[in-house]
Symmetry: D4
């Protein structure tokens, strides 16, 4: 702004021109204001993630290449085989030097410039109660890693054998993790148990496991919402992305 | 039947009389058949329990006196102060020598002939997770006792402190209880935990505790239905009567 | 422990060694404590059952061979054709002498060492209301048998013809079963009727039969939860495994 | 119409007048058409019933007096003490010779001209499963009687003692009732049982009895909707008015 | 019984034989009692209908041939192409002279002896609101016809054009139908409208049409349950069989 | 901005001062931007309405006086007797010349400067199906009037007598109303019927009337959402305020 | 009518003939009355739209050709590939000069006479929150256009970036649209935000996007129903047709 | 342990005594293991909070005095007037020097030793959308403060005026809060908006505000679960305690 005024003072620009330039700058500022959250999002290290479900593979591939070109990598969730093929095809067509990594369990596709590395800002813990909960856990892991977390996982733990919980929990606490994500289906009791044992924020993720009344993760979600253990918060059924992002925010803050 | 035929053969009764007597006996049998469950109920030791809610105190008192006169005692569930007063008034009016015992916590009234004693056929365990679950637990206890169970209770146990569970469970297992009733509200995880630790049938009773989504015992019920622990069956929210009666049936069978 | 002390007293081991050995033993005890429920589970005769749904056939086959090797048999529930093929293939590859028995109706696979026999500890009854309830009933039967029960089944009984219920019930009562499992879909009234007629614990299992409001077993489950008949407890919709395991626990206790 | 044309032909009215009169008649017909259902309602014998809940007692009393004046009687449902007082007060003020009959159990008020009698067109049966179902049953009875039905009631019948059902059912069938209303709360199995035993249309009415999941009549309603017994239709929870009116329509048709 | 006594009196049979024969007769009576509802069902003209869904085609075909052999015809509901093929194959194999009639819209299969005719006992009306409701309506029609009803259908009526309702309703009323079945999906208002216009019992059948909140017939069912029009009762969503059977019972009674 | 530049050009202010003044103006603009919706709300004529439920009477009175002072009037919804008293007391204390008008049926309080008049921008129609729907309708009326609508009401219309609908609808259409609000409880069919008859936007408001399944307005809301009639949109159960405000927006736009 | 009277007066027709002709005319009027809503529908410009789901392609094609022949065009919603093929085949067979336009995203088929143009009566706005909401938005657009609206769309707006909303909203307000349709899934907050910013009626359409609890558009619908923003009304989940028709009615009225 | 061995080696204790002492120590260790979470809870600074609802005031007072005596303070949530009186009475009786502070809005009672101070470990933010959300927010605040948080509150923010959100958010971000709690009822959009603007973990708390479908906080909870904004986790409706405790855990970790 000073620059404009200076040029105006020196007669380089007329009052009309000065006025106009100032207005333009003002508009630019307004636009900046509008974009403030975009910048903020960038700064937080939680990038926009492409949700593939309900989108056409073509569209997914377009977005993936655009994202990866702009900021070094793109992450796609809820992706299928067709999406991977389309993304690979597009990467070939565009002749960009991108690595395409499909996590079949998590159903995520990570597209990144060859050599791109995610910084490691801090650690989180990730516990899954049963085999069927692993897809959700893996989705959370991939998201958290992309957001700069080192993720310590323990997937062989279950309420039926609470004792199997002791060792991994001690490991996580000793590693000073900033948060622990606990994925559980069926009756969803594990996050409550974990939250009652550690002094770390615990994020419960109900997995869509179970049948009959309360099936598809509903009983698990309700249990977590009703939990007696303080220090437990939840995300929606199967929302690995949300859990990973939340845990990453905890890491960010721990280190500020 | 032979007797009738014999009397007919000996000319004591005519063919018409024989025919009629045989028909009457046949009808009596049909009626017996119809009453089979009444007798059975009596034999099982699970008496009809008077559900006071939705009935007028006057009506409750009538039934109570009738039951107690007929079989020595009457048990009323979901009773209020007004019911107790009415029952006492009726007992006074009828000049019967009945004891009236109001359990304020369980909201039960036990009316019994002075000196009447319930036999002790076997033991059951009864565990409550929190203070607010005690009314339901007490209802179950009273019903089970009336049905001939000795009830070993442990009301200071909760999921938040699983360790507090070890001692009472060992006691119950050592006492060789025929079944364990576990009352729990909120997330209702306790019955699952108990069922995973003992080789005794466990009956989960959700208590109408908790608020928000899944409140009023709904999350607890769903958790128990979704339980991973084998050997857990449930009754409806707050159904202490049903749990007590079920446990009593387990006792009956253990001893047959 | 005494042994260690003795060796220490006799100078066989130094104080450091004694101390270390005692610590190791202490840790071993802690681990034993942690494993207590595993042993217990084993002792109760209710083995871990492999839930195939949501697992890959490869994984299912791995677990099956491991279980069968360790304890003589493995039971898989909610299994499909692919799982059977994979299990058979694995058994062939491993060159183990296992029988693989696929119950197409129950969708269970039983893998056991040739000649392995399940002991018979006692009897339970199993009643199904309609043709469509048989898969759930069969699942319960297989589980109960594996847990040591002799199962008396009656699959041709329905609420529409209550009279058809009399004969099988009498048979069950006479056989002195420790519990009766009753599977019913639609309005789910049968378990209530059975519980009102016998002095045996009755376990209601809603079957996922029915359409429209209350369909998929919901009306059946709610009916059972609301039942007026004392001595009825329920497991979740379609939970044949849970019902079989619960009944087995009743058998165990009857015989202790 | 002919009359108008005749008068026009005879010069008694001008073409304009004829035209106008014909239009007026046409409009009158249109209005008659619009009112056709009112007449029909009257003809069917199912009068408008005043629903007191949510109305002020004053308003209720106004409507009651108006109805009773117009057609000899008025029926008010869901009425309270205040409504009765207000109706009586109004009847006194208006100095009309009306009888006011408050059915405390059914919560209905019947206002009728002294000496007014309801015709008896045919019979229906009315069965209630438990004490707590009687208010709904009584509402249905009062409505059906006002609609010209003789109502044969049996209020001491319950699923817990199916045998108690045989005698009253035989009585109803012998009386050749046009329909049977069955009121039931809790698990609501009674209407199914009745419908499986008789060749009469059965109308199930869930009563708002029961607690926990499926409570307040929900399990009962779902059970009835899921019923395997053909020939059972239902009305909403506690809708004695609807059941009474439906049964009355069956009577009407039987006699046409 | 007299006969037995007579033979005993005449020495034709010994006292043991007489006793035994009398017992046998008594048992036969008990069995008759048990079978009373079967006979009743037969007498009511509402035959057992084979529900194909959840049964194997082979089983369906077995039942169909058995039914048709026993009483002249068999009706199968919720049948698919595979069921028809299997039934036809079985009929061919058994070399019985049965006609097999598949109603593709109603998804019913009618198997009957060639020349078998259903008697016509009376009329019912059947109205469907929209094209998508016709499958349910057709199921109701087939069932009602098998039960002896002449069915007057009107399938081109909808709430959007209430005027289209007038003519068919008048026709039904003039034909003196014993009941009117009204099938409607979406907001389900048509049965209420019909019930407010006629003095005939109206049976509402919600069709599983509609999407979003209240979809799949739920809004329709709730609307019908909440209906202000007296004289409307409902069956579950898509329950054409139940509606047809109920209407048939109305016909039966009208003609008794 | 030009002014600042001019003053800078004329040496009245230094470059620092100019720069600062320009920044301040820029910030002022940003703030204006933030306030844009407040102004807009004011311009649309839909004022903020004070929701009394869950607020203390004292608080309500404070807000009412503040609003009325600032813009001439205040409207309070869901108000009780205590709120009216408190508002009157406050008005007396503050010695402001305000009229306080309590609509007991709508449960609204209108506080306005004596002589304040709402402009009449256009007309809307308002139809209620039954007596119990009038409170909701009145709330909508009061809100719409405050927003500048002339409201033509018709409260004696119901689905049970569709013919009664014709006249009021014609009146509304002839009055050229911008929208019609239709309040209905129970099965909620009226808005669908109205929307199928007129070419005016129809806003359905479910009233919390009805009992049993679908009661408290739920069936009505679902019916309206499932409506076959195009041109019907809904607000939540009992949301008279929302309906009135929406209709007012329609009026505003018609007249622009 | 006058004409008939005249001919009667002049002796051209007898009194019987006059009488009959007048009756016929009267009936014709009655029929006209019955058809009044059809005409009205036509006049409103909101044509009947063919809902393809649940109809056979053959049937859809029949209706499409009939509609297009009668009024120049036909619109089919929820159409699939098979429907398009069948419609095209039918158009070929019938040798009519119709254009068939399939909107793959909206799943609509527009069949119209070559050269037929829809008039433009006014403008509406249409906003979609995310990519997955576009199919619903497109359905609304097609319907609104057929009803005479010019539709200004903005599909790249989302709650995550509220700032992106400002520009399109200003454009819509400046274009003086009669209503704004806002489609949103997930948490469904966008319509509330829009309604709080503009003085135009806003129609919220929940899209069936989202998973877990509140998924498939349920959370979005509930949010919109609970909205604090006045001037927001909603249609059911995914109901693009209803939203388009409602907006069209707003346009019609603005211009009257 | 070494000590025991040493004493044994020096003959101070016999082998039996050594053995016994070692066993006792082993048991003590086991007990310590069991108590590990109690200590942990203590160490985390999240004390047990007394939930008054469903407990008798007497019981609440007992617990309060016990807690305060043991660790310096006691916190009671969901407390009523009667609880406060009882607590005060008890404090007087016990003659302990405790301050009793009742927060009428939060419905919490804080009992603490005179002079006891809570340490301040870090800051959290707390935002409430509307006046009716303040009770929940206050509960969260009190809990967080007891857990060592300094709480920056902003209670005058709402979705209707998003601009009012900017200033408080900037303040919170600048204060470097470890987490932000956002309480919101109705449509519950505010937490999503906040989470999309800041790089701090956001905890959404639905408030039990709102009516009709989705009322009592259900729509708010579902919205938060469906949120598009990453980094949002939720606790149950009205669970201020849970939110406060979770935020406190975030503070603890930030500072480790």
């Amino acid at each position: 702004m000073e620059e404009i005024l200076r040029r105006f003072a020196q007669g380089e620009i007329s009052i009309e021109e000065a006025c106009k330039e100032l207005k333009v700058e003002s508009i630019r500022k307004l636009k900046d204001f509008a974009r403030i959250d975009v910048n903020r999002l960038h700064r937080t290290g939680i990038p926009e993630i492409i949700f593939a479900e309900g989108k056409r593979s073509r569209e997914v591939a377009d977005l993936a290449v655009a994202h990866a070109t702009a900021r070094g990598f793109a992450l796609i969730s809820r992706a299928g085989e067709k999406d991977v093929e389309e993304v690979k095809k597009r990467v070939d067509e565009e002749k960009v030097d991108f690595e395409v990594d499909y996590n079949e369990v998590a159903r995520t596709i990570l597209v990144k410039k060859r050599g791109y590395n995610f910084e490691k800002r801090g650690k989180i813990g990730l516990i899954a109660a049963g085999t069927a909960d692993i897809p959700v856990a893996e989705e959370a892991r991939v998201v958290a890693e992309v957001c700069g977390c080192e993720v310590l996982t323990s997937y062989d733990v279950g309420i039926a054998g609470i004792h199997r919980l002791v060792a991994p929990l001690e490991e996580l606490v000793n590693a000073d993790v900033a948060a622990i994500i606990v994925v559980a289906g069926m009756e969803g009791a594990l996050p409550s148990v974990v939250a009652s044992l550690v002094d770390v924020p615990v994020i419960g993720v109900p997995a869509s496991v179970g049948y009959g009344l309360g099936g598809e993760g509903r009983a698990a979600l309700l249990s977590m919402l009703q939990s007696c253990s303080p220090g437990l918060a939840v995300v929606n059924i199967g929302n690995g992305v949300g859990a990973g992002a939340f845990a990453a925010k905890c890491v960010l803050h721990k280190n500020r």
